[in-house]
């Protein structure tokens, strides 16, 4: 009997141990590590100076002089430098009628250049890639962009590919969310994500002011990055994903239609940005922060926030408190060391910085990215991260928050923990020493001084 009892207990203990082992193995494989990322640096013949922008704008004979002034003012005041890049088809004068090949070449150049480098740097072979995600919002050819990559790099037959489109400037965290979920279902998985935007087929040739701003702000850019949940690669990884929050306020009609691709009165397709966009951004932002804060902030800060909130309710202040102002009272810097803000424009960066209570040092990477690369849509977060790395700001155990906004209207964020000291110059290698520059004022401000007087 004793033997029987011993055997049955031993068997049960073994089962329990094996279940515990399975659970700990599952947890070890649930992490999402960023192995490396490569930002796209187009060739120098694609640089878009203010002068060139002015010539391109002037080619549109439908524009009146006030329209021309409005656009030039937007360009000159955008905080964008002379070093940003545009698509070849637009520089060469085909902005009104780009061919399919123009569009494909633009995206191919970005994808293949960054992927070549990514595979070289990580030493990973394309045949080992298990999951491939591409997000390019405004260009989705058939076969898909993922199929183009599978063909070029001869990837495996069982590679899981996903081509996301139409998901706007905040698509990077969406792609990471997709991969992160797949990582929880499979062990030792390697994923490659390519994020970019297509500008060539989306140049607006009309006269609707709400649609012209896109022409002024969007620039060519992209990024390829590699993720894995394999614990044996942790020592090579740069960062580990801690949490990801997606907020979609598309249920509200104003928010849904504040940034939308549509035709103007003359039937020309453009990207309409309405006056209610800032309001939608604030709402989406608040929605995101409400869910993000408990995951990111230390318990002490949350307790303090709760106490302040309670005090405010008990002793009601006469001043009206907005969501943004309330958010400022939460000190995000207690849980986050670096902020990768979407470079939607100087106003967006400044507004988000104020709302989060950030200093000039904290928004510098985003402002400098806007200056050097312009608004590269979903990939902008990675250029901002690249700036921080090139400036050697990223140290082990630092926490990096990526925050972006996009059409829909969405606000998506993700928090990373840096796993080792990072020093790579990346796409910023040749120019990081010149940053931050003495001034962000456009050098053509004098030449185009008349636009200020308009």
């Amino acid at each position: 009997m004793d033997l029987l009892w011993t055997i049955s207990t031993a068997l049960l203990l073994c089962s329990l141990l094996s279940i515990l082992w399975k659970e700990s193995d599952r947890r070890r494989n649930r992490n999402c590590y960023l192995l490396d990322f490569v930002c796209y640096k187009p060739s120098d013949d694609r640089k878009l100076s203010t002068e060139l922008c002015s010539d391109i704008i002037a080619r549109n004979k439908r524009l009146s002089v006030p329209d021309y002034k409005f656009l030039l003012k937007a360009v000159v005041n955008s905080g964008i430098s002379e070093e940003t890049y545009g698509p070849r088809s637009i520089i060469e004068g085909r902005e009104e009628c780009p061919t399919h090949d123009d569009c494909v070449d633009e995206v191919d150049d970005c994808m293949y250049r960054t992927l070549d480098q990514l595979f070289l740097r990580t030493g990973v072979s394309p045949i080992d890639v298990d999951v491939l995600v591409v997000n390019v919002s405004m260009f989705a050819p058939s076969p898909s962009l993922t199929s183009r990559i599978v063909n070029r790099y001869s990837m495996r037959e069982d590679v899981k590919t996903f081509s996301l489109a139409g998901m706007g400037c905040s698509a990077s965290p969406i792609a990471i969310d997709l991969v992160n979920n797949i990582f929880k279902t499979r062990k030792r998985t390697l994923a490659v994500v390519v994020t970019s935007e297509s500008i060539a087929p989306n140049w607006y040739c009309g006269t609707d002011k709400s649609m012209m701003l896109g022409n002024c702000l969007f620039r060519s850019g992209g990024c390829s990055f590699m993720l894995t949940n394999d614990p044996s690669l942790r020592h090579r990884a740069k960062m580990s994903l801690k949490c990801l929050v997606r907020a979609h306020i598309g249920a509200d009609d104003d928010a849904y239609s504040c940034a939308i691709q549509k035709e103007d009165d003359e039937g020309r397709v453009g990207f309409h940005l309405s006056k209610s966009l800032p309001k939608a951004a604030v709402r989406a932002f608040a929605e995101n922060l409400q869910r993000l804060a408990p995951k990111v902030l230390p318990v002490g800060e949350l307790a303090l926030y709760a106490v302040r909130g309670l005090r405010h309710r008990l002793w009601r202040s006469k001043e009206a408190k907005t969501d943004a102002a309330t958010a400022a009272r939460v000190n995000f810097k207690s849980g986050v060391d670096h902020f990768c803000l979407h470079t939607g424009g100087a106003a967006v960066i400044d507004a988000v910085g104020r709302a989060l209570g950030l200093a000039k040092y904290d928004v510098e990477p985003a402002r400098m990215t806007l200056h050097r690369w312009g608004n590269t849509s979903a990939s902008s977060l990675w250029y901002v991260l690249g700036y921080m790395e090139a400036k050697k700001r990223l140290r082990r155990k630092d926490r990096v928050l990526m925050l972006s906004f996009g059409a829909g209207f969405k606000c998506n964020s993700c928090l990373w923990e840096v796993l080792r000291d990072l020093n790579d110059g990346g796409a910023w290698e040749d120019c990081i020493r010149a940053y931050p520059p003495q001034t962000l004022v456009n050098p053509f401000m004098e030449k185009f001084r008349w636009v200020k007087e308009a």
């Binding site: 279940i19 996903f162 998901m167 869910r291």
Partner: protein
Amino acid sequence: MAALLLESLMLGPDKNESLWPSVGIDAIHALCITLLVIIVATAYFMSRTRPVYLVDFACFRPTSTCRVPFATFLEHARLMPFFDEKSVRFQVRILERSGLGEETCLPPTNHYIPPCPSMEAACEEAQLVIFSAVDELIAKTGIKPQDIDILIVNCSLFSPTPSLSAMIVNKYKLRSNIMSFNLSGMGCSAGLISVDLARDLLQVHPNSYALVVSTEIITPNYYAGKDRSMLLPNCLFRMGSAAVLLSNSHRESARAKYRLLHVVRTHKGADDRAYRCVSEEEDEEGNSGIRLNKDLMVIAGEALRANITTVGPLVLPVTEQLRFLATLVARRLRGARGWKLYIPEFKCAFEHFCIHAGGRAVIDELQRSLGLSAAHVEASRMTLHRFGNTSSSSLWYELGYVEAKGRMRGGDRLWMIGFGSGFKCNSAVWRCLRTVGTPVEGPWSECIHRYPVKVPDMIKLL
């Protein structure tokens, strides 16, 4: 242990009670063992993969005002300013042999001469086809839009910003923490890619509902040129859409129709020939269209064989698997010429087949490759006849046909096979959980009594 239990049962409670102290197990030991059993059992059940149920699905039923009978197609083709006589005759010849019937539908803009595709019209078509299907699904399942946790939309050839998924979020006021994904450019097999993604997400998020919407928007994709290899889609593609509700919630196991067993994805894009056989291009005059190469059927066959290699071991009886393995090995050793590849008897693994209604040639090729009878491919042929090639949603129209015919019994196994640009072959295996009654509503409700029809090899139009 079992023998001991049996012995103690035979003895009776009194004898057991007297034996108890002699066994040496006291109360604490018994409690420990019981607790351990409970813990282990709970952990085991928690670590199993979550079942994915298909609660229900709904397909868009086009109105008869969108019908394109052969006479209309022929008349319009002749009146289009950009088609010459050769292009018209070519399209008519395709239509004669296509397997399409007279009730297939095109969106309103395609009824104009010439069609006037605009972004607004494309959005209107998207709203019409998608919202109709989703409204019907909500009515059938009683699901509240607020309960949807995951939303996946696939539409290959139309992807506005904000996406179609954002359009659905806006229309149905879905929650702000919804996990939405919009897939585009992924071809006619993208519906199963969406199901695969939904399945992965449902493994991670318990007690969740996933809404999968598969469609293709025809409006912006009419080819207005003369290149023959790009005229086929004009003849075959028709409007359609499907909305599918998946869940991993235990509550739904009682009313769900199907359970997802396997999804297998095969991507032949590494092979240049396969990659180029379906591609979006511009012709010499700058007109955009989808080019289909002549070796499309051969490539589809190869992609299917690659897919079968993975699906086979999951579904086939052991004898069939061994036979298949033996021929594979023999072909490796003696070369492919020496041995014909053995195609396993999939008929013994499945009761129903839904093969993408890409065209008559695709269905013929698969029927031949898999050794299927006419009855097995009836759902595909009839869907092609009644609705045309509706791209990724065609599989759901075919399933609707099987249900409308009252053929779906509890325990039946279903194999869905989709093909698409890239070149991909994706398949999904479902098991029917309960006998499905003939639906009262649905795209087939008004016409199922007329089916099956005999589809002639050729209908003379000219």
